[in-house]
């Protein structure tokens, strides 16, 4: 409860400082909006449905792209963790590819897929796949040897060993990898949408710029933050809590 109070106080303070800066008139209002005008912008965006549509389109894209990344990433993670050849070749390549900002894949995507949904999905997948693959691999590598050994001893082998021992044993790493992958997917999507003009939150952001509407820019940025946080809170925080209850990590 006190934690909530502290957080409320913090954000109230932040709003107050914002309002104060506006009152000081350091910048003209078309460069620095008031909290109220951002709120108005949010209200009108939702009431004319443009924000709802933007959220819907963006969420659908990120859901598809992220799902593809998860499936491919877990599979690639397993392959690179258990094949020496693949880890020395593909594994190294993936690590070096990770230094490419995901938006760099956009030119490739547009040349390959044209201005289609596929291009934007490609950017999302390339943005999040590597992070997931790498953390699945390191998760599997860091499983204490005793678990697969105990599993074999009790009659698990092949697929049964993977499903009932290796996957659950790597779960702490897996979840943090999926969480990281989610953050990457969301960022890649928004940056992709900003350049690649079709519906979606990224496009609403650029539209705000084109219209010289700083309030809309702020409003859409708030939306992007809120949605990223919401998904993290709903899915990943819950999974981490369940994990802690079972494994008994120190609670934070």
């Amino acid at each position: 409860m006190r934690k909530v109070l502290r957080q409320v106080a913090f954000y109230a303070g932040l709003l107050a400082i914002w309002e104060l800066v506006v009152l000081l008139k350091l910048w003209p209002p078309y460069l620095f909006p008031t909290p109220y005008s951002v709120f108005e912008s949010l209200r009108s965006g939702f009431s004319d449905h443009s924000f709802w549509i933007g959220i819907g389109v963006s969420m659908k894209r990120v859901a598809i792209g992220y799902a593809i990344s998860c499936v491919l990433g877990v599979a690639l993670g397993f392959l690179t963790a258990y094949s020496r050849f693949l880890s020395e070749t593909l594994g190294r390549l993936l690590v070096s590819l990770q230094s490419i900002p995901s938006i760099c894949w956009l030119p490739v995507a547009i040349l390959w897929f044209g201005l289609t949904e596929k291009a934007i999905l490609f950017v999302v997948v390339m943005g999040s796949l590597l992070a997931i693959t790498i953390s699945v691999e390191s998760g599997l590598r860091s499983i204490p040897k005793i678990y697969p050994m105990a599993g074999q001893n009790l009659g698990a082998s092949g697929w049964k060993l993977i499903i009932h021992v290796l996957l659950p044993a790597s779960l702490p790493h897996l979840i943090s990898g999926l969480k990281q992958g989610w953050a990457f997917a969301w960022r890649s999507l928004i940056s992709g949408e900003m350049i690649f003009v079709t519906l979606g939150l990224g496009q609403l952001l650029m539209m705000g710029r084109d219209l010289n509407d700083i309030s809309q820019v702020f409003a859409v940025m708030l939306l992007i933050i809120a949605l990223g946080w919401l998904i993290d809170a709903i899915f990943f925080r819950g999974m981490e809590r369940a994990l802690r209850r079972r494994w008994g990590f120190a609670t934070t």
């Binding site: 005793i146 001893n153 009932h164 659950p168 209850r245 494994w247 008994g248």
Partner: protein, 273 residues
């Protein structure tokens, strides 16, 4: 040097485990390290055999080989006269670090082996309950592993092995990390469960008194390469206690045999440092 064998008449049953000419050699580039010299060993049905030796004598390796979790360089392991190949539910190893699964609760851990066998849910739940009761953990069947004390974890691990009704239990220094009271209680419980279930047990320890407390027979292994140096029959009446003067006396006799091997191990360790 032939091992002096004294088989006590009380354990003259049929052969359960036969270890035939097992050797283990580790090759690291050009270096070769002989961990186990040919080991021959027979364990009779229902026997409680303890193996003692200095660290590095290969006693854990031998246990892993019998369990099928490690491959010998030569030799074979027979259970009930049948050669083994890889791990099997007829012999379960209890590891020193236990290897209980933190993502499963106590009952699910005990059910694990049964689930791998494909036993129907209801049947394995009943079987797990029975063995959880046998180790007095019924109240804790829904707890997760991190919520249990060291002694309780040992008992879960025992129940998980027993649930498969293996016939052979292989125990690798299971009680080393426990406090003295917990260990004493677990000795009593293990002895009771052994009597009730008729398991054949090979129990590896570096604690000679523990070996005398529990075993029908105690084998002393030599420092690298590991081989059987001598066997002792323990014909003291059960149930024994670590504090019994007879136990202490017998332990002294065995320790005398073991001492020189421990000295060799210590010497080797220092010369490496």
């Amino acid at each position: 040097m032939a091992a002096l064998i004294e088989i006590p008449s009380s354990v003259l049953g049929e052969r359960k485990i036969e270890v035939q000419g097992i050797t283990k050699e580790y090759v690291n580039g050009r270096e070769r390290m002989l961990a186990l010299q040919p080991i021959d060993l027979e364990v009779r049905r229902g026997e409680f055999l303890c193996i003692v030796g200095p660290s590095g004598c290969g006693k854990s390796t031998l246990l892993h080989i019998i369990a099928g979790l490690d491959k010998p360089s030569a030799g074979s392991i027979l259970i009930d006269g049948q050669p083994t190949n890889g791990p099997g539910p007829d012999r379960i190893l209890i590891f020193q670090e236990l290897g209980l699964f933190p993502w499963l609760n106590v009952r699910e851990n005990v059910e694990f082996g049964l689930k791998m066998k494909g036993m129907p849910r209801k049947e394995r739940k009943e079987r797990a309950r029975h063995f959880i009761q046998l180790v007095h953990l019924s109240q804790f069947e829904n707890n997760y592993i991190h919520q249990l004390s060291g002694g309780m974890k040992q008992r879960v691990s025992l129940a998980r092995a027993l649930a498969l009704k293996p016939g052979v239990l292989l125990m690798d220094e299971p009680f080393t990390a426990l406090d003295a009271q917990t260990r004493d209680r677990l000795h009593d419980e293990l002895e009771r469960i052994w009597a009730e279930t008729g398991q054949t047990i090979i129990f590896v320890t570096h604690n000679v008194r523990e070996a005398v407390r529990l075993g029908d027979r105690v084998i002393v292994m030599s420092y690298r390469p590991g081989r059987i140096k001598r066997e002792f029959a323990i014909e003291l009446e059960r149930s024994r206690s670590l504090e019994d003067p007879e136990v202490t006396l017998k332990a002294k006799e065995i320790l005398f045999e073991l001492r020189s091997e421990i000295d060799k191990a210590v010497l080797a360790e220092y010369s490496h440092a």
